[in-house]
C-alpha cells in the first residue's frame, strides 16, 4: 500500500499541533512550522499529481481495514488536481500573511494548517461520514480565521456564517442518516452500488437525501439562494484569510461533483434531472453575482462577488456531467481560485495605500506605488473578466464549446454577459482607484517585496496556465473522463486481496 495519499493530512495536522504547543512563547518558531508544512504540502501534492497522471487510483485503507468496513482515502486525478491548487494558494497566502497579517491575532498559525487539513481531507476521503468530519474541521478553522483580527464587521459576518453552517451541518447529518438507514453503508463506492441496485419504492428517499446533500454543499459553495453569507464574510476577513477562502467554496463544488458523478449519476434512481438542474442553478448564481459586482461600492466586495460568479460558472460547466463540461470547469477552477486569491491580496495593498479611503470607490489619494499596483490590477482584471489572452478566456472558451449553440443559448448568454459586467465593474474600480485621484499619496505606505511578490505570483499563475493550457486541459479532460466512469473508482476501492 502506497502511503503517500495520507501525507497531505499528516503534514498540516502535525504542523497545527506543534503550533498549538508553541502558542504565545515562540512566534518565530510557529511561523517556521507553518512555512515548512505548507511548503511540504506543495512538494507532496506535486508528487501526488505525478502519481495519478497515468490514471491509476490510489486507495489508502486507514488501519488497513478493508472497504467498506474501514475508512478509505481515495486519490484520483480530480483530488490530486485540487490538492495541488490548494497547496499553491496556501503557500503564497501564507507568505503574504508572514509579512504582518499573522500578528493581528493570536492563533493564526494554529488554524491555518488545520484549515488545510480540513480542505485536503474533504478532497481525499472516500467515506461520507468522514467527509462530514473533515467539513467540520474545515469550518471550525475557517470560523476562527474569519474572525482573525477582530472588529465589529468581522464578528457580524462571522456570526451569520457560523449559524448558517451549523444549520447546514444538521442537514448534512440528516442526509447521511437517511442514506445509512436505506443502505447500511457510508463508503461512497459501496453506496454507489447500493443506490444503483435499490428498489424503485426507495427512490423518493434517495432523492430527498441527494437534494439535502445538494443544499448542504450548495451552502458551502455559495450557490444562488445560499450565497448571502459570502460577500460580507470575504470582504471583511483579513486579506490572506480571504485569499485562502477562495478555495473553500470549491470544496462544496468538489463534493457536488463527486456525489453526482459517483453515487447519484444518471444510472441511479435519483438524478435523471441533475444535468439540467445543476447548470441552471449555476447560471442563476452567475446572474446574482453579476448584479452584486455592478452594485459593489468597495473593491473587496466586488472581488467577493467575483467569487460568486466563478462558483456559478464552474457549476454551469460541471453540472452538465459530460467530459467537455467537467473538463472545462476543472481547467477554470485553478485559474479562478488563484486569480481571486491574488485579487484579495492586491485589494489589501491598495486599501492600505489609500489611507482612510480604504478600498471604497471614492475620490482619494493615489496609491503610493501606482505603476506596480496598477499593472497587477490590470493583469488580475483581464484574467478575472476572462479577456484574451489569459487563462480566464481559455477556460470560458472551453466551457462555451462544451455545449452546442442550439442547445444552450442560456449558457452562452449568461456567461458572456457576466464577463461583460465583471469587465465594466473592474474598469470602474480601476479608474476610481488609479485615475480619479486627488492630493498626494499617503507617505510611508509603500509595500515591500514580502507583500508584492506573493500577490504578483498568484496573478502571474494565470499567465502560466495560459502557456501550459494544452497539457493542463488534456489533464482535466482525463480527470473528467475518470469521474464519468465510476465503475473503475468502485472497483479500486472495493478490491479485495492485495495485502501489503
Amino acid at each position: 500500500m502506497n502511503h503517500w495519499p495520507i501525507v497531505p493530512l499528516l503534514l498540516p495536522l502535525t504542523g497545527g499541533m506543534i503550533n498549538l504547543l508553541l502558542t504565545g512563547r515562540h512566534p518565530r518558531a510557529q511561523r517556521a512550522v507553518s512555512l515548512v508544512c505548507t511548503a511540504g504540502l506543495l512538494v507532496a501534492s506535486l508528487y501526488l499529481l505525478g502519481l495519478v497522471y497515468s490514471g491509476d487510483f490510489f486507495v489508502y485503507r486507514l488501519g488497513d481495514w478493508a472497504a467498506p468496513f474501514g475508512i478509505v482515502l481515495v486519490l484520483d486525478r480530480l483530488s490530486a488536481l485540487l490538492l495541488f491548487t490548494t497547496s499553491v494558494l496556501a503557500l503564497l497566502t501564507l507568505l503574504y500573511a508572514l509579512a504582518g497579517d499573522d500578528r493581528r491575532g493570536h492563533n493564526f498559525h494554529i488554524f491555518f494548517p488545520l484549515q488545510l487539513l480540513g480542505i485536503n481531507g474533504a478532497f481525499l476521503t472516500g467515506d461520507l461520514f468522514n467527509l462530514f468530519v473533515f467539513f467540520e474541521i474545515l469550518l471550525i478553522a475557517s470560523y476562527c480565521l474569519a474572525l482573525h483580527g477582530g472588529g465589529p464587521a468581522r464578528i457580524r459576518a462571522g456570526l451569520h456564517y457560523v449559524v448558517l453552517n451549523l444549520t447546514g451541518s444538521a442537514l448534512f447529518l440528516l442526509a447521511i442518516g437517511t442514506l445509512y438507514g436505506l443502505t447500511g453503508t457510508l463508503n461512497m463506492a459501496d453506496l454507489a452500488i447500493r443506490v444503483a441496485a435499490s428498489a424503485p419504492e426507495q427512490a423518493p428517499l434517495f432523492r430527498a437525501s441527494a437534494l439535502l446533500l445538494l443544499v448542504v454543499f450548495g451552502l458551502k459553495a455559495a450557490l444562488l439562494p445560499l450565497h448571502f453569507w459570502l460577500p460580507g464574510l470575504y470582504s471583511s476577513a483579513v486579506a490572506s484569510v480571504a485569499a485562502l477562502f477562495a478555495i473553500t467554496t470549491k470544496v462544496g463544488l468538489y463534493a457536488i461533483l463527486r456525489i453526482f458523478t459517483l453515487m447519484f449519476n444518471d444510472q441511479g434512481p435519483v438524478s435523471e434531472a441533475a444535468s439540467t438542474v445543476l447548470p441552471a442553478l449555476g447560471l442563476m448564481t452567475v446572474v446574482a453575482g453579476g448584479f452584486g459586482v455592478l452594485g459593489a461600492q468597495r473593491l473587496r466586495l466586488l472581488i467577493a462577488y467575483l467569487v460568486v460568479i466563478s462558483v456559478g460558472t464552474l457549476l454551469a460547466g460541471m453540472g452538465q456531467l459530460n467530459v467537455k463540461g467537467i473538463g472545462a470547469a476543472l481547467y477554470y477552477l485553478p485559474h479562478t481560485t488563484w486569480v481571486t486569491g491574488g485579487l484579495f491580496l492586491l485589494a489589501d495593498l491598495i486599501a492600505h495605500q489609500r489611507g482612510p479611503h480604504d478600498d471604497g470607490f471614492t475620490r482619494g489619494p493615489p496609491p503610493a506605488q501606482p505603476a506596480r499596483l496598477g499593472l497587477l490590477f490590470f493583469l488580475g482584471a483581464v484574467a478575472a473578466a476572462g479577456l484574451p489572452p489569459l487563462s480566464g478566456f481559455i477556460g470560458k472558451v472551453l466551457l462555451l464549446r462544451s455545449v452546442a449553440l442550439t442547445e444552450a443559448v442560456w449558457l452562452w448568454g449568461v456567461v458572456l454577459l457576466a464577463g461583460l459586467t465583471a469587465l465594466i465593474a473592474l474598469t470602474r474600480a480601476g479608474s476610481h482607484i488609479f485615475w480619479r485621484t486627488e492630493g498626494e499619496a499617503v507617505a510611508g505606505t509603500a509595500a515591500g517585496m514580502t507583500r508584492l511578490a506573493p500577490t504578483a505570483l498568484l496573478l502571474v499563475l494565470s499567465v502560466v496556465l495560459t502557456v501550459f493550457a494544452a497539457p493542463v486541459s488534456r489533464f482535466t479532460e482525463a480527470a473528467a473522463l475518470q469521474l464519468l466512469t465510476p465503475e473503475r473508482y468502485i472497483a479500486a476501492v472495493l478490491a479485495r486481496g492485495e495485502r501489503p
Binding site: L159, A170, G177
Partner: protein
C-alpha cells in the same frame, strides 16, 4: 414505537427551526442546540429501534443492535457540543462588540 420516535424528532426539529429563525442570538443558539439534539436522535434511530440487545454480533444476528449509528452519534454529539459552545461564545462577543444581541447586529430600530 417507530411512530413515537419519528414524532419526537419532528417536534424537536420544528422547535429548533422556529428558534433558529428568531432575531436575537440567544434563541438562535438554543435553536441550534435543539437541531443538533434532533439530528443526534435521528442518527441513532437509523440503526432501527432495537431494545435489550448488545451492539455485538452473537450467534444469532437478529438479536444485536447496529453499533455503527452509535459510533456516528458519538462523533456527532462531540462536534455538535463543540460548535454550540463556539456559537455561544461568539454570540457573547458579538453582544460586546456590536452593543446589542441581534443576529444582524443592528439592534432595535427607533
Amino acid at each position: 414505537m417507530e411512530a413515537l420516535a419519528s414524532l419526537t424528532v419532528a417536534v424537536v426539529v420544528a422547535c429548533g427551526v422556529y428558534l433558529v429563525l428568531r432575531a436575537r442570538t440567544f434563541p438562535v443558539a438554543m435553536g441550534l442546540a435543539l437541531l443538533s439534539y434532533a439530528v443526534n436522535l435521528f442518527l441513532f434511530f437509523t440503526g432501527r429501534l432495537v431494545s435489550g440487545a448488545p451492539p455485538l454480533l452473537g450467534n444469532s444476528p437478529s438479536a444485536s443492535a447496529d453499533p455503527l449509528p452509535q459510533a456516528l452519534v458519538l462523533t456527532a454529539i462531540v462536534i455538535g457540543f463543540g460548535m454550540t459552545a463556539f456559537v455561544v461564545i461568539l454570540a457573547l462577543r458579538a453582544r460586546g462588540e456590536l452593543g446589542n444581541d441581534h443576529v444582524d447586529g443592528k439592534g432595535e430600530q427607533p
